[in-house]
Amino acid sequence: MFYVSMFFQYASQYLKTRFTYRVDTAVEILSDLLNQAVNLIFILVVFGHTTLLSGWNRDEIIFIYGFFLIPYALFSAFFNIWDFNERYIVKGEMDRVLTRPVHSLFQIIMERMELESLFGVITGLAVMAYAGMNLSITFTWYDVLIFIVMVIGGMFIYAGIFLSIATIGFWSDSRTDIMPTMYNISNYGRYPVNIYNKIIQFVLTWILPFAFVGVYPASYFLGRNEWYGYAFLTPVMGVIFFAMAVLLWNTGVKKYRGAGN
């Protein structure tokens, strides 16, 4: 309960800061939309020259992309930790966080949230609706529940991977470029994994499971039963990877000694 009220306090503070630079916030949301549009345009243009991409048709690919946008939007709204090392470890902000009686990870998530990213959920739903109508996909009532579980699972996978990388900061405050590298690898998850070679497929499934954020869960709704086994693993993978990250975080916080002076 205490954490819920903390969330609303942080959120209201956040909105105040965003409304100071109103034009900029609007432009930022617009640029997010633009980013999503670019990827859609890419798919549309490409399918002007081909009908199938490793067995997936245009609307299926669009549907997968639409699905991907939703867990990704939740992730970017609440797990904006790509500069954790510079911001908290190098500058010593972590000391301030640790003196407060709220879990350190929760505080950092709250301090760094970017609620405007949640617009991606709307875009994702719209994209899925468009593709779903072209494919005449039927939804039953329990599909909604499965959808929510899959989305949260996908978000946890993203969060788990990036949090785990952020915890490196507890052991070494030297600059690493693993974070941006990982962001670029995560782009591989937007497309069906069977376009890649076997090694990359394996990595995207078991080591850096970005395929569980897009193609695997989406294939359940597309009725592609050859992928169902993977689809239902999504929440399991999410829980495993997120739990691992929290474990690493807690160990890291115990290990943390501050960055000097």
Partner: protein, 263 residues
């Protein structure tokens, strides 16, 4: 003049001091090239060619356009925005050089560094992993480098414009991001312009963006031939001249209404 050459030199040396940061950049670009390599292989399926480009030319196109990006890409829009926000720009403006000229020279120093320490080794590494064809004709290489210089100028001009907009928007991180996305799409980095439907292609001839990436990459992959090459380079030159106008205009307007927010 020697003052500006000094600016190029200093920025080059500054980048050289932090060169280890760039090794991971090569890795990141290779990851991106890899993603598009697999994507394009799947798109081609069994097709011989799409829009006159074979799969080999397409892979080359992807690799070269990313490595060329390392040359023309710079963050001077962000630097200008930061200097406006912390008030430094006021000091810069009373110094005996042209502020925008200085920024351009710094960008050039950065570009020269990156082409030597990033693009060249990067392209060699990528060529070892993916099938890429290098032209053997010296004229292709000559026109490629010529058009690359123009892509740098056009991209820098757009960055200057974006940076100057901070004078009017105060905080323009959003605009800077949006500009980046627009350039990635409309410059031909992600998709050759010839792949777009006809109406979009004709719309894009009225925009400066294809001068940034499409032209040098098409020259390199020999997707352009004969008069197409010279026309494309002429088009780049025309854009360089046209873009000078809004820069001049906005800059003189900005100087009049400068508000130093801090410092």
């Amino acid at each position: 003049m020697s003052m500006y050459i000094e600016m190029i030199r200093v920025r080059f040396l500054m980048m050289l001091a932090y060169r280890t940061n760039y090794y991971s950049g090569i890795l990141i670009y290779s990851i991106n090239i890899g993603a598009y390599y697999f994507l394009w292989s799947a798109i081609y399926g069994g097709k011989e060619e799409i829009q006159g480009l074979s799969i080999l030319q397409m892979t080359t196109y992807v690799a070269v356009s990313w490595m060329a990006r390392a040359f023309y890409f710079n963050n001077i829009d962000r630097e200008i925005a930061a200097e406006i926000k912390d008030g430094k720009v006021a000091i810069e403006m009373i110094r005996p050089y042209n502020y925008l000229g200085m920024k351009t020279m710094q960008a050039l120093g950065e570009g020269i560094f990156r082409i030597l320490f990033f693009s060249v080794p990067g392209l060699i590494i990528v060529a070892l992993i993916f099938p890429i064809s290098f032209s053997t004709s010296p004229s292709t290489w000559f026109f490629f480098f010529l058009s690359l210089i123009f892509s740098f100028i056009v991209n820098t001009q757009i960055n200057l414009l974006t940076g100057i907009m901070t004078f009017f928007l105060f905080n323009n991180a959003g605009l800077i991001r949006a500009k980046r996305v627009v350039i990635d799409l409309f410059s031909g980095l992600l998709l050759p312009i010839s792949f777009y439907p006809g109406w979009a292609q004709s719309l894009m001839t009225y925009l400066p963006f294809q001068a940034i990436s499409y032209v040098p990459s098409m020259i390199f992959t020999e997707g352009f031939a004969g008069s197409e090459i010279t026309n494309a380079i002429l088009l780049q030159a025309v854009w360089v001249v046209i873009l000078l106008v809004p820069i001049r205009l906005l800059w003189s307007l900005a100087k009049k209404q400068l508000i130093v927010q801090g410092g």
